[in-house]
């Protein structure tokens, strides 16, 4: 077995997450799919770190985790604010800027 198996798995997970972002309407589920994509990217970073033999990839994956945590906090606050004003968590209902 070869480390590239991890890369293929990460590609598959990333694609599933991307399809979920495009297909789902619930903002929170869309957010979870974004998290899945970030984690797939992290798996790629860790695998490349192992292929290269240096730890830089792991450090960058660590940074990705921190940024993902910040993103989740702000994103969920935005979802809650939208839900408070529009009584909906669907991404289709947020269309005031459309016209």
């Amino acid at each position: 077995m070869n480390p590239s198996n991890y890369l293929v798995l990460a590609a598959i997970l990333f694609s599933i997450g991307a399809v979920g972002v495009l297909v789902r309407r619930n903002a929170i589920v869309v957010f979870m799919c974004v998290e899945l994509m970030l984690n797939a990217a992290n798996l790629t970073l860790v695998t490349f770190s192992r292929i290269q033999g240096t730890l830089d990839g792991q450090v960058i994956a660590f940074f990705v985790m921190v940024v993902a945590a910040a993103e989740v906090v702000v994103g969920l606050a935005i979802i809650l604010t939208i839900f408070r004003t529009r009584r909906s968590a669907s991404v289709d209902d947020v269309n005031l800027l459309k016209y």
Partner: protein, 286 residues
Amino acid sequence: MNPAITAATEITRTGSGEQVVFWILAPIAVLAAFGMVLARNAVHGALLLIADLFCLAIFYMLQSAPFLGFVQIIVYAGAIMVLFLFVLMLVGVDSSDSLVETLRGQRPAAIVLGTGFAGLIALPIIHVISGTQAAGLSAANNGGNVQAIAKLLFTTYVFPFEIVSALLIIAAIGAMVLGHQERTGPKVTQREMLKRRFASSGPLTPRPGPGVRARADAVDTPALLPDGRPALTSIAPEYGGQSEEEPAVPVNGTNGAGETPGPDDPEGGAPAGDSAPVGAGSGGSR
């Protein structure tokens, strides 16, 4: 063969134990990801995502990144997913997907694009990178993975580290600003609440909870009023009580015991009818 080369290939090749774990967990991860996208209930999706994150944490540990594996479990599966579930419960679990398609044909197009994207990334990886051997992290992890990462983090990456810490603080403040609600009316003080309570026709004292002055201390035993009638507002409507808005008049059959106190007979019917069946059912089990 040169023993050094053999040892090197031993290091660079992934071991058979890792292979077993990978081929067990990789289908689980893919299935959980599919389940998350397809799940109707957002809570089920969140639980499947947690399963996926655990699989990824084990993959990190397999690839000599134990620190990242544990951070993944603690931060992602622990903190972030709890935050997700918290917001999910606040927003409402039943806020499911609308089936109205705003853009016609978006879903099939998304599925086709996703499949194509997966193929576009995975096929080059299989064809190009699969021949290369991993250098392995045993040299870099020599003094311990955590120590090595800390060394990198506080020397080479110290500036990004500081920026990221500022980002976290800004995100926390941003969440507070977004979650803050301006007060629209004047603040109601305790004195005004007291005046309002005395001006209204409602009761002045707090209502009794279930079982107060009754013979059994159970959630379905109504408290007794000073005149001996059961206070039906003291128990939940599921147990035959009344909600707070309705007047506290005894209604027939609310105890579920068949014994109904008449409205003209407050003294006799209620306590006797209460104590026998309720005490046998709930309080008498001890």
